[in-house]
């Protein structure tokens, strides 16, 4: 029997003892109610002025020149703001009052390094490299410490490794679909023994098995998940060709096809985890390619393609979550924005404030929240970037408090230290 089959059908008690000595238990996650949260990191600095064009601002068109949108090609939200034409699902969500768009928003980071900017977005502090843990993990730890969670663990990172935002004291796991044949039980047990004296590897192996158990188990309707190996776990090894169990053609096909194909696997896995009563309640994944220095495009082009893929991915997430969508809030955030004016190469350079999104059935949406600073040269930050007027920690504190029920004292003390002056936004979530 191969491991995934074994986990799926519950297995014998003796072997299960060895395998399920996990730090994780996904069972009975009552601490956060039924709420689900997805945090999507848009790495590379999303151009908020293209994703959510302020087409009603009188200085906008001259700054953006041939990349400017107008009333004729945005998906309008109100007289001032529209959505990029690639964001059809988000527009539908806005109409269904399930989307809040935030604009002129930024983390406390005020320089222009991607890597430090992402660090601040994830660590929840004011400075880069201030902590080796992330705000989302510390929020989960606070929920567990509050004694309301009967489980110790609530989070999963969709990917091989855990991004900073999800690292920290609370036990979390990572999961990604495997293209390699599973280990047989005997080998797995021996490796588990081999790691007995190594806390890091023992913990990670147990976490991986716990995540696999969720991902590979049949759902409530008794259906097997689609990402279970199609061959039922039968090894498919080519003896001379280590690491090529998957035909290259199949690997490449993932990148092709519909706009959403880019996120198919990760969205599927996220839905698989979040749908389950006994699964993790928080999922994180990241997306790249937003660093549009040259030939950014407008209604068509580089950025349009990436936004279309993201939009299709979110639509697919809603479809796959089914009724659980109503308990779900998805936050999409990036490290900073881009210059207000286009640069000399039909793109935009690193900037400051940008746009962010909160979407989901649990969201009190249909609103744009922005204290708009304007794009006049006096309104710009350092004469070049959209001025930040909203701290993203306000949004995150609001979501964590209302949706995951993170106690406010924890939000101030451990989740977002040094954020005393940053008040949580209220009424973001339906009650």
């Amino acid at each position: 029997m191969r491991r995934r089959e074994f986990l799926a059908c519950g297995a014998s008690a003796a072997a299960a003892g060895a395998l399920f000595t996990s730090r994780l238990s996904f069972a009975n996650a009552t601490g956060t109610g039924r709420s689900r949260l997805v945090f999507v990191i848009l790495r590379g600095a999303l151009d908020g002025l293209a994703a959510v064009p302020p087409y009603g601002d009188r200085d906008y068109a001259s700054l953006r020149r041939d990349l400017a949108f107008s009333a004729s090609n945005v998906l309008p939200l109100n007289d001032m703001f529209g959505l990029h034409p690639s964001l059809a699902f988000l527009q539908e969500s806005f109409a269904a009052r399930e989307l809040i768009v935030f604009h002129a928003i930024a983390s406390p980071y005020r320089e222009r390094s991607h890597f430090d900017g992402q660090d601040v977005l994830e660590n929840g502090y004011v400075r880069a490299h201030a902590a080796q843990s992330g705000w989302l993990n510390r929020a989960l730890a606070a929920v567990a410490a509050d004694g309301r969670a009967t489980n110790k663990e609530l989070g999963v990172a969709l990917g091989q490794n855990v991004p900073l935002v999800m690292r920290g004291p609370a036990a979390v796991t990572s999961w990604s679909p495997s293209k390699l044949a599973a280990l047989d039980d005997d080998t797995l047990e021996r490796i588990t023994d081999l790691y007995a004296a190594d806390p890091l590897l023992a913990g990670r192996l147990a976490d991986a098995l716990a995540a696999d158990a969720i991902a590979m188990a049949p759902n409530a309707a008794g259906e097997m998940p689609a990402n279970r190996p199609l061959d039922g776990g039968t090894p498919n090894r080519l003896s001379s060709d280590v690491g090529t169990q998957l035909a290259p053609a199949k690997l490449r096909s993932k990148a092709a096809g519909s706009p959403g194909a880019r996120y198919t696997e990760v969205i599927h896995a996220a839905a698989e985890f979040l749908r389950r009563e006994d699964g993790p309640k928080v999922a994180v994944f990241d997306t790249t390619g937003w660093d549009t220095h040259a030939n950014e495009g407008a209604a068509q082009g580089q950025l349009a393609g990436r936004l279309a893929a993201l939009d299709a991915g979110l639509r697919s997430l809603k479809e796959q979550l089914g009724p659980v969508w109503n308990e779900t809030a998805v936050v999409l955030a990036t490290e900073f924005g881009r210059t207000a004016a286009i640069n000399g190469t039909h793109g935009t350079d690193h900037g400051t404030a940008t746009a962010a999104f909160l979407v989901g059935g649990a969201v009190r949406g249909g609103r744009v929240i922005a204290d708009w600073p304007g794009l006049s040269s006096r309104g710009l930050y350092q004469g070049r970037d959209l001025m930040p007027t909203l701290d993203i920690r306000s949004v995150l504190k609001g979501v964590l408090g209302e949706h995951l029920l993170v106690p406010s004292r924890a939000l101030e003390a451990t989740v977002f230290p040094d954020s005393g002056g940053v008040k949580p936004l209220g009424d973001l979530i339906r009650t």
């Binding site: 855990v162 990572s174 490796i191 790691y195 060709d241 280590v242 220095h293 640069n343 000399g344 350079d349």
Partner: protein, 463 residues
């Protein structure tokens, strides 16, 4: 006790993983073994298949132009656009194959690790389309020949290389008061052309001073103006053509005038203005500290001890950035020899050390590319100019570990009884081999499983 881990540290941390017999040859003299590798010129890669970047780039640009000019219908252009990746993908595969073979077979693994370190320091990423064909040539042409030279020469070679100019958009950057910009403005008032600050920013932030190294936004913008004109030869309207695919300074794109960067004035000497700024950046104390920190993080610990960083930075400054002097200072740090398993292997380390340890002939074609993709470190694909991260927490995820042991199991199946893990374990792990691992291997149910357990062992996961 001290002697044996020293051999394992030399081979596994500073090298690319012990080959059978390597620890015996080191014989406890890890420092000498490493120092000896620094002598002589750096080894090149001899592979007749590999082509010059200028050749690859000229062909790719020709192909792009043909596609542009021959575009008839939308459907036909879709198929035509695929021709560029179809040209570049086999080039990428042969570059990765050659690099992999070199890593697995070299008898100067310290030099190879240093080459890979610098390739990651000056990272480009194949998710930008032309880089699929150029990333390998950047390493071969700009990094390998300079890995035992001066940092300033390495820096200049990288920043001039077409792969870097294209990756960070500098070939498109135009001085707003340059001849070319003024011509365009005269003819098309509505068009805006100007600088792109991408390369300038990343040179300061990622290649030299480091973030917080003392530069401002004004320095970024001015430095971007300094390097306007650093471009590539090939068709360019009525301007000089130059050698297609090769570095070319295009005076007509260069922003005229003297410029001030980091408080120092640079007269307008055209191309040499950029060279002068790069030379000064290379000798800046912030650069010394930044590079020392990255080397210490790679070779000593995730959070490198300050003393070691200071020692390496001092060697850098005292020698004018002479890299072998810097490497010797690194090897001399007592901290590098204190904790034998301080670093968690990256997927690349793990795969290369497996092939070296088991003496498996490196794969070719797609098989040489696949394991790096499966284990989460696609060669030349870090996705950002910051390169791959270098801390345990970046690589030790649960899912990543599971993939590693699944792959180890596939390798075990592949070599089966043709390798004796019991004999190999002390040869690969030396003084770091634990009793627990020895016992587990001894009790394995098959030769294949014994190999899997050796590769899955905690001490083989680290270096």
């Amino acid at each position: 006790m001290l002697e044996k881990p020293s051999s394992a540290i030399a081979a596994n941390r500073f090298g690319l993983g012990a080959q059978p017999g390597e620890l015996t040859a080191i014989n406890g003299n890890g420092r000498d073994w490493l120092r000896a590798q620094l002598k002589g010129s750096p080894p090149g890669i001899n592979d007749a298949q590999l082509r010059d970047s200028s050749d690859i780039l000229a062909q790719a640009l020709d192909l792009r132009r043909e596609i542009r000019e021959s575009r008839v219908s939308a459907a036909a252009s879709g198929a035509a656009l695929l021709k560029v990746p179809q040209l570049l993908r086999p080039i990428y595969v042969s570059e990765v194959t050659a690099r992999f073979r070199q890593a697995v077979t070299t008898d100067r693994p310290f030099i190879e690790r240093l080459t890979q370190f610098w390739a990651n320091h000056f990272a480009v990423s194949v998710d930008k389309s032309l880089l699929l064909g150029l990333a390998g040539s950047l390493e071969r042409e700009a990094i390998r020949p300079n890995v035992l030279g001066r940092f300033s020469d390495l820096l200049l070679a990288v920043e001039r290389h077409p792969a870097m100019l294209i990756y960070l958009d500098n070939h498109l950057s135009v001085g707003p008061n340059s001849k070319a910009a003024r011509n365009v403005e005269r003819r098309h008032a509505e068009r805006k052309i100007g600088i792109n600050e991408n390369l300038a920013r990343e040179i300061l932030e990622l290649h030299t001073l480091g973030v917080g190294g003392g530069y401002t936004q004004a320095d970024v913008t001015t430095f971007a103006e300094v390097i306007t004109g650093w471009s590539i030869g090939g068709e360019q309207g009525r301007h000089p053509r130059g050698d297609p695919g090769k570095f070319m300074f295009r005076a007509e794109l260069h922003e005229p005038g003297a410029k001030q960067v980091l408080g120092k004035r640079y007269a307008d000497t055209g191309y040499d203005q950029g060279v002068a700024v790069l030379r000064d950046l290379a000798s800046h104390p912030s650069t010394a500290h930044f590079i020392a920190t990255k080397l210490a993080r790679h070779f000593i610990a995730d959070d490198p001890p300050g003393k070691a960083v200071d020692r390496i930075a001092r060697a850098y400054l005292d020698s004018g950035g002479d890299l072998p002097t810097v490497y010797r200072a690194l090897v001399d740090c007592p901290e590098a020899w204190a904790d034998p398993l301080a670093k968690y292997k990256t997927p690349n380390d793990y795969i290369v050390s497996t092939f070296r340890g088991l003496e498996i002939p490196p794969d070719t074609g797609h098989a040489s590319v696949a394991p790096f993709e499966l284990l989460g470190q696609r060669t030349y694909g870090p996705g950002s100019p910051a390169g791959w991260p270098d801390r345990s927490a970046d690589w030790d995820g649960a899912s990543a570990l599971m993939k590693r042991v699944e792959w180890a199991d596939a390798v075990g199946q592949r070599v089966g009884n043709r390798r004796n893990a019991m004999e190999l374990a002390p040869q690969l792990l030396g003084g770091t081999l634990s009793d627990g691992t020895r016992t587990a291997i001894a009790r394995a149910a098959s030769g294949a499983q014994a190999v899997t357990l050796l590769l899955a062992a905690p001490e083989f996961m680290r270096r």
